[in-house]
């Protein structure tokens, strides 16, 4: 396989085909809990993206020295250290956002998408590809978070980018868009059950699109790509 094809495949897998949010359904806890506004969603998404790239790169860099018996505790150590660093950095430099993300920032440690990528991909592939895989998986997760956050914020309180100054500083107050005026907020969408419902719709829409694509395509001989994703079914 050509070099660029490999990256294309990684991007396709992370952003669509194996999207951690929509397909693997990993990390649902933060996904559903913090997406009540777009700003929170972006904050958590970026933090996860950063941790995922760093942990993938590190795991891949040390893969030769780590015996397979103790690989899991070492992955956990690496991920936990990066999450703690991100937490400290966000506490220092994006204090308001840190406060509004609350417990879900340290909970990135428990996001199975991260250890899943470390185990399934990064521990078997070179640093470059592993980092790229981290980037794409992280982006896929971030996009789902943003979409969920945007839909819930618009439906729930009729705004977009409410509280963007917490993430980006005071100038970001101008980003706030009042889509329409609500006398009372649409509670269901803001509370966790709403997140489940919206998420369900997203997954359904993705499945419909996939089906359409499959139907539209004339059946060509399946170009089986032998290398990619060896053990997805394990988890």
């Amino acid at each position: 396989m050509k070099f660029t094809d490999e990256y294309k495949e990684l991007a396709w897998q992370g952003l669509w085909k194996n999207n951690p949010g929509l397909v693997q359904l990993l990390g649902l806890c933060p996904l559903l809990a913090v997406t009540s506004t777009l700003t929170n969603a972006i904050g958590l998404g970026l933090a996860t993206l950063f941790v995922l790239i760093c942990s993938n790169a590190t795991v891949s860099a040390i893969r030769q020295w780590v015996p397979k018996e103790i690989r899991i505790p070492i992955f956990v150590l690496i991920i936990a250290s990066f999450v703690t660093c991100v937490q400290l950095l966000m506490n220092a430099y994006t204090f308001g956002l840190y406060q509004s993300l609350g417990i879900f920032l340290p909970l990135i440690v428990t996001n199975c998408a991260i250890i899943g990528r470390a185990e399934a991909y990064a521990s078997k592939n070179p640093v470059k590809q592993a980092s790229f895989d981290g980037l794409m998986m992280g982006l896929g997760f971030l996009l789902v978070l943003m979409l969920l956050g945007a839909v819930r914020e618009v439906l729930g309180q009729g705004t977009l980018f409410d509280g963007a100054n917490l993430l980006l500083g005071d100038w970001a107050n101008v980003l706030r868009i009042e889509v329409y005026q609500l006398d009372t907020q649409f509670l269901l969408v803001i509370l966790p059950p709403g997140a489940f419902i919206v998420m369900g719709f997203f997954i359904a829409i993705k499945n419909v699109i996939d089906e359409r694509i499959a139907q539209a395509k004339p059946k060509i001989v399946n170009q089986e790509i032998s290398r990619v994703r060896v053990n997805f079914d394990e988890k």
Partner: protein, 220 residues
């Protein structure tokens, strides 16, 4: 056979220990680098809160350093609370007291209440709560200015019956669909003002015994 197993095990243990040390070192370095900034941010946040309810030209002491820990029994809260004292040339001006309303709709509501020396409320802020979004969260200044309805109010006597929500015959509005939250807040503010009125002198006379360094709460 057993020997090779032992060797492999001790090798793995060493490797694991090495990783633990390395990871801890990285976290420790980041902690050292961000420690001062985090402390500064917490100080700023406290100061912002204090200055939003006590006019910053009314006092000239370093208010977050002039802090007193109240034993938990005095306000009836589960944990010890703090008083920040504002003075102008050493004359007491007002005090900001943290307290907890334990009977919110969804657990504790943490409040910061500033009271002028004459017993009028200078301002109230909600520091932390888990009330229902859209209903009970109107106690946040971001969402509604209800919390400002305390400003300038005074307790006529210990059992002033006006210090209740309107539904209970008092003077404070409740929210549509949420009475429990404002009721809890009104009650906590009333208790605090009561406490302040009866302990004014000792509150201002006691020596400062907490600083921002120790009060910088690690909030998860």
């Amino acid at each position: 056979m057993a020997k090779t197993l032992t060797i492999a095990m001790s090798k793995n243990a060493q490797l694991l220990a090495l990783f633990a040390v390395a990871c801890t070192a990285i976290v420790a370095i980041v902690h050292l680098l961000t420690k001062d900034e985090i402390e500064f941010q917490q100080q700023q946040k406290l100061l912002r809160n204090l200055n939003s309810i006590i006019a910053d030209n009314s006092y000239n002491n370093v208010i977050y350093q002039d802090c007193l820990i109240l034993p938990s029994a005095s306000l009836g809260t589960a944990t010890a609370q703090k008083v920040y004292r504002a003075r102008n040339n050493n004359t007491p001006v007002s005090a900001a007291i943290t307290t907890i309303a334990p009977d919110g709709y969804n657990g504790n509501i943490e409040l910061l209440i500033a009271i002028n020396i004459d017993g009028t409320v200078s301002g109230v802020r909600t520091l932390k709560h888990q009330e229902t979004p859209g209903l009970g969260d109107k106690i946040e200044i971001r969402k509604s200015d209800w919390i400002n309805s305390f400003v300038g109010k005074k307790l006529a006597n210990q059992n002033d019956s006006r210090w209740q929500v309107k539904k209970d015959g008092g003077m404070f509005d409740q929210f549509t669909g949420a009475t429990i939250t404002p009721r809890a807040v009104v009650k906590a503010v009333r208790n605090t003002v009561n406490y302040f009125n009866s302990h004014k002198n000792e509150l201002f006379d006691s020596a400062s015994n907490c600083h921002i360094e120790t009060s910088g709460k690690e909030s998860l």
